[in-house]
Amino acid sequence: MKQRIGVYICHCGGNISDYVDVEQLSKLIANENNVVISKDVMFACSDSNQKEMIQDIQEKQLDAIVVASCSPKLHTHTFRNVALRAGINPYNYVQVNVREQCSWAHSDTPLDATVKAYGLIRAGINRVAYSEALDNIEIKAQKAVAVIGAGVAGMRAAIELARLGNNVYLIEKEEQVGGRVAQNGKLFMTGEDGKALTQRLLDNVKSYSQINLFTKATLEKVSGSVGNFNIDVNVEGNLLKLNVGAILVTTGFDYYQPSENEYGFGQTNRVITLQEFNKLVENKSKELSFDDKPVNSIAYIYCVGNRQSKGPNRYCSRYCCTAAIHSSITAHEKFSGIKAFHFYRDIRTYGKQELLYRQSSLNGDVYLKFEEKEPPVIEVENGYPVVKVKDYLTSRKEIALKADLVVLVTGMVARSDSNSVSDKLKIPVGNDKFFNEIHPKLRPVETVINGVYIGGACQGPKNITESVQSALAGVSKINALLKKEVIELEPIVARVNKETCLWCGKCAEVCEYDAIKPLEVNGKMVAEVNVATCKGCGICAPVCPNDAIEIAEYSNHGIESMIAGFAAQAEINQTETQHEEKDENALVGMKEYPKEWKTILESFNGTPLSIPQISNMSGLAKELVTYHLMTMNRYGIVEPAGLNDEESYYLYKPKNH
């Protein structure tokens, strides 16, 4: 139990103190048990206050501190460092959130905000009283990395990892390395040859003795945890055992394979995929021909297998627009008399790739826009495809094109065999079947499994640049992890009371990280937590029938005392606060509704209506109806009534007073 606690309540400039009576609170808190010092401060995070806190801790010999300010996401580290600098353990510090949870959330009832803040702070004091001094967990790490998949991302990552002094095991399922890029000819933007590019990478890979490349190799079994993974690899029937500190998964993607009759695929051999078309362009020299007949007019159909409103492929692969336009330019430059027609939904040649779109327009390529609900239809006449479409750029007029070839611009999908990797490594997989990172923006290459990283297109559609970028991000994360050969982990993990544990196995069943295993201690089976894999999620604690497992910093008495602190009777005096009552409902002063409101209300005949319907009936422009409905909704004159049948518009109805 901590008995010399310091409490600091922050004004946050007014963000908190405008609503929460922090001055009164700091006086009340001073009377709490074990509290030695209680202060209200303008900005707790300011340098001057941090110095003052350190001084207080040292002069008053405080053993724990509580800061009541903003969200712990913002300043936990700030104040843990203050504790460390003052000479107490960082885990003897608790942050209480009285801004997001009190002043901002209850700005309309300042007294209640103050009462809630009082409760939370007392809960925090009780919690810190039960806090323990904890040290980071240290694990010895192997300076070796397994990279799975020797495509452009995997090879590039292997080279950098080796250059930084790590041993690398590069594991490739196929006989040849290079993956999808090696299947390509000329690449967009750089104009390089895909095969040449991957060959160059392979030469580079071979020049590093630290890189062990295994082809025709598959992952058999993975055990262990961060810093110390044991991997069984099957190399052409021989089992190989590897010990690595981290794993980088760069297994890539599959091209979407059109189903039978999708845009005429399979109906005529003149409907081909973009990959087949690229091969055709590459193999022909003087004249572009197919089945010994010249090819002049080419129809490209975009978003095949992507951006579907139903099913797993709802995303956009982003690379395919540029790839198709690049193929069209290549064909135009190589052969004469080529006419290209692009049937697209939206063109996404973002960034510098926009120049390719411009070039193709200059070449005379024609773009026709369709929507998912009215896709082009391919009919076959005399063996040649005829593309029929309602062109949205020509007032949805139905237009036909006699094409010599129809090229289906297919998107990327997750590899059909990707679960053979994700199951073994326990990487979470999204609805789209691609591997999931922890946070798409902030932790884009880490997975929830410590020590397992993802890079390239196994994570989602990426072009080569983006694949290499993400793989290299993985490299820098891995290198930072393994560099010291010791890995420090947060100490907030599950721990087992070996006296009371009877090993029923329930905790191991619910653990999503496979962190709990049975262990024999003094002739009795008990649960053993692998601190390297445990995430401290706490799912095991409530299932234990004997209360034998708990999470550090979240002990049962700790939590119970927090509840007691929060629930204790509070007596707060209402003081003069800085605000006025909110404007009374403006309607009270309104003698009659504006003309447009009356018109809108007259449109309703018992059934809820959408904005276009109201616009039609009232003769008011849709923009006006939208604007007035917003205001009327705010004043409680109308209310939303769900979506219409097509789920394209919100419905509104008058609200009864």
């Binding site: 002049n296 007019s297 006419k339 027609f341 411009r358 327009s361 200059l362 005379g364 390529d365 024609v366 773009y367 026709l368 826009k369 029929k388 062109d391 750029l393 020509t394 007032s395 007029k397 139905e398 237009i399 036909a400 094109l401 006699k402």
Partner: protein, 355 residues
């Protein structure tokens, strides 16, 4: 269902269109156009038809004639796709479509054909002059006779059938039913637009546009009245001082204004003067030559020098013949008729739609 014509873009480029395939259909041109209305939007729609090669839709459209080429669309196009120049090229292309002889198309697309035709007429005039032994009274008589025959002939054989074809393409073929009364009531639109180009004033009312309209109006009035003065009042042979002075003023107006127009085409400052085609140059230069040589011929007559400078008359009659036999029936002159008839036909369609 209309079928895409992959080769149309190349075809329309032969009529002067530039870079219109850069269009990404933003519609800025239509938004900025002062003449485009909710019922009749352009130029974007026509760029689209041209891109896809929907010839039937283009052929039945009067919209190219509803544009008076202020050039705002080209100036403000974010892709430099030159919508204004495409509209101009569509007018040339339509002229070729209306012309039953097919010669318009040939002359627009092939500069050498144009030049050869001009040379052939020059040769014919010199030949006739040679056979009449360059006696000026006889030649002037032939010249005057030619003017009347040419006007009647060109109108009856070429222009009238072409107007009927235009009517067929835009009203009959698309199946627009117009009652007879509308044909009479809308005649006023025909006359107003033919003689005043009133619609031009609908372009953004800048000083330049107003000036351009005024100069064009003076040119049209000057040209039509000079035609009347020479053909029906027999300017070169008249003894009436009033008619003589009238002719001087009219011909001077023509050659002075055409000098201004030529300057603008050379300076290439405004969008509509940036991309002059040979047909534009022939039109403005020959109009200038007509006014100027007519002025000189009458001046030589008045100063009794015509016998010594009879070649001036031969040049005048050559210019006249080239004008009447090439530029009027197959060249840019026809825009005078097609523009006003487009307004007439459009009034018919609008009258029908209002009902």
């Amino acid at each position: 269902m209309p079928t895409i014509n992959p080769n149309f873009a190349e075809e329309i480029k032969k009529f002067g269109a530039k870079d219109f395939n850069l269009c990404f259909n933003c519609g800025n041109c239509t938004a900025i156009c002062s003449l485009s209305t909710n019922d009749e939007t352009f130029p974007r729609e026509l760029i689209r038809y041209s891109t896809l090669g929907l010839e039937d839709d283009l052929k039945s459209s009067l919209k190219p004639w509803l544009c008076y080429y202020c050039g705002e669309c080209s100036t403000d196009c974010p892709r430099q796709a030159n919508p204004g120049e495409l509209m101009m090229s569509l007018r040339r292309w339509l002229t070729a479509q209306y012309d039953w002889t097919g010669l318009s198309g040939l002359l627009y697309k092939n500069l050498w054909a144009y030049i050869l035709a001009m040379i052939a007429i020059f040769g014919a005039v010199v030949g006739i002059s040679y056979f009449s032994e360059f006696t000026h009274s006889e030649l002037m008589h032939i010249g005057h006779l030619f003017e009347m025959v040419a006007i009647a002939g060109v109108f009856a054989i070429i222009l009238l059938p072409n107007i009927i074809r235009m009517w067929y393409f835009t009203i009959i073929k698309p199946g627009i039913k117009v009652n007879l009364k509308a044909y009479f009531l809308s005649l006023k639109d025909l006359l107003i637009h033919m003689f005043t180009q009133k619609r031009f004033l609908g372009c953004e009312p800048t000083r330049e546009n107003k000036m351009r309209w005024l100069l064009h109006l003076i040119l049209v009035i000057g040209y039509l009245s000079l035609l009347f003065t020479t053909v029906f009042l027999n300017w070169f042979s008249t003894t009436s001082n009033f008619i003589v002075w009238l002719g001087y003023i009219e011909s001077a107006a023509i050659f002075l204004i055409t000098i201004l127009f030529m300057q603008k085409r050379m300076r290439k400052v405004d969008a509509m003067h940036k991309h002059s085609q040979p047909s534009d140059w022939f039109f403005v230069i020959w109009l200038f030559l007509m006014g100027f040589t007519a002025f000189m011929v009458r001046l030589l007559i008045d100063t009794q020098q015509i016998d010594s400078f009879f070649w001036v008359y031969v040049i005048h009659i050559t210019v006249l013949a080239q004008w009447a036999l090439i530029i009027v029936p197959f060249g840019k002159w026809t825009h005078f008729l097609y523009r006003s008839f487009a307004m007439y036909f459009d009034a018919l369609i609008m009258a029908k739609e209002k009902k």
